[in-house]
Symmetry: C2
Subunit: 292 residues, 2 copies
Amino acid sequence: MIIGAIEAGGTKFVCGIGSENGEILDRISFPTQEPEETTARAAAYFADKNIEALGVGSFGPLDLDPQSPTYGHVTTTPKPGWANYDLLGHLKKTLNVPAGFDTDVNAAAFGEARWGAAQGLDSCIYYTVGTGIGVGVYTGGQLVHGLVHPEGGHVLMRRHQDDKFEGACPYHGDCLEGMAAGPAIAKRWGQGGDSLPEDHPAWEMEAHYLAEAITSAILLLSPKKVILGGGVMHQNQLFPLIREKVFRNLNGYVASSVLDDLDSYIVPPGLGDNAGLAGSLALGIQALTDKT
Amino acid sequence: MIIGAIEAGGTKFVCGIGSENGEILDRISFPTQEPEETTARAAAYFADKNIEALGVGSFGPLDLDPQSPTYGHVTTTPKPGWANYDLLGHLKKTLNVPAGFDTDVNAAAFGEARWGAAQGLDSCIYYTVGTGIGVGVYTGGQLVHGLVHPEGGHVLMRRHQDDKFEGACPYHGDCLEGMAAGPAIAKRWGQGGDSLPEDHPAWEMEAHYLAEAITSAILLLSPKKVILGGGVMHQNQLFPLIREKVFRNLNGYVASSVLDDLDSYIVPPGLGDNAGLAGSLALGIQALTDKT
Ligand SMILES: Nc1ncnc2c1ncn2[C@@H]1O[C@H](COP(=O)(O)OP(=O)(O)O)[C@@H](O)[C@H]1O
Ligand SMILES: Nc1ncnc2c1ncn2[C@@H]1O[C@H](COP(=O)(O)OP(=O)(O)O)[C@@H](O)[C@H]1O
Ligand SMILES: [Zn+2]
Ligand SMILES: [Zn+2]
């Protein structure tokens, strides 16, 4: 059985095909341009692949309410041409297969729960820390939707005592994304995170903000795994710093032995950079199962 | 059909019976004492009531994992005699009916979703602001469990600019409960919230902390309703203050028209002080449905 998957990012589209056990068999990637052109290119890729279903994990915000007349649309994005674009509708019309649709980060959380670091667990939370910060939430064996979908990259945190940075989020200033995404690091320290040395104070501060957000998420949701991906998390020294701060923040309050050893609780994606595409594949498989 | 319900609080037990449409037909209440004595008293109440199922919403922390050997136990509470007490087991043994079990605040969230302010919605979040702060989370038509269960009363927030109070939580100091539960108000201002005038600066500060936590919860979970109960929320002037601050915090970021008017989004419990007992009733009804 061949399933199609699209990781629809704001800067690039990744299209691929895979099998029902999560194996990615083929993939291509191209820049995200005008929506019509971009979806046409995706559809062309799948045209001769004989896919039985399609999964799409997309940049947002998205309308994920199946009852809504604009279900499957990208909604209020500032990205030229994409606001109110019927992404799912265009793909379904051309490819004519059952299709699953969710945010890129919910898809990644789903992929990790299916085949990655949270395999076999019924809950996990997935953060991507890159140009922005996105959060996918999986709980009770389901991806979380609601009014809209998780926007947990913008939660609020206690400020680091040495931090005078006002924050870079145009909406909130000092929210998580405003304090800890790649551009915030670059703005605060005058150079990008990829060029800062491993022992630079930036990383202790970065770990502080991520640990604040993760602590609150653990307290609110009690996820069985916390998975951290994205470009900034390539700085591996962040993991022990974050674990130590979360441990100190929780201070033994949550009664679970799992939290005694955070080394296997706060982890990188088990699927590495495949989490997003594999998650979209999982959405496609689910769409097929829901159909039959 | 008669269903039994217990709202098992740290200071008092409320036992009642109700019908499948949420109507409470009878109730009693007595102080929470030694566990054996307390459960015996509850069992005695139900003995002649002919209940077909029982729902229990309890103070915690609790073991809610049906696969666990200690499922249904109160776990690490400092309350004398109650640590590791098999609350559900004792009740089931005596009453011998299908029984549902969850935290008091998850029960309240469930009751509100079934018959209260979130009726007909598949998600809501319920805060009780009293001696402590508890949070119940309902999403995708399910109560949230995970490693343990939500402990969202202890999330972290940005500090109020005028606040020098170190916080009253023995675990975290300045977490939500440490800054905004009844005892924190009393400690910060030298007198209990119930005796502070309506225009006292305490309320703007109280609203600040609740708004911080609610903002982050909306961003992480996108609930369709936010419900605030408990003794402190009897200060009705808090509602407009909290709504205004949440509105300012979100700053238009979340793309949902529901958030244009927070008057009908951040609300008191539709069931008033019955939320907890009605929620336990709902847990009992669900246990019966799951059984058949
Ligand atoms: N090795 C690295 N160390 C620190 N920051 C990095 C590293 N690699 C990428 N980044 C930062 O991450 C951001 C890009 O994130 P990435 O996850 O790669 O893509 P995107 O979020 O755009 O999909 C940039 O701000 C970049 O500076
Ligand atoms: N009307 C009120 N205004 C302000 N605070 C109140 C009010 N009523 C109760 N409180 C505070 O709420 C706390 C008790 O909360 P309550 O929800 O009644 O019970 P509990 O949380 O113990 O179940 C106490 O700290 C008390 O000071
Ligand atoms: Zn923001
Ligand atoms: Zn605390």
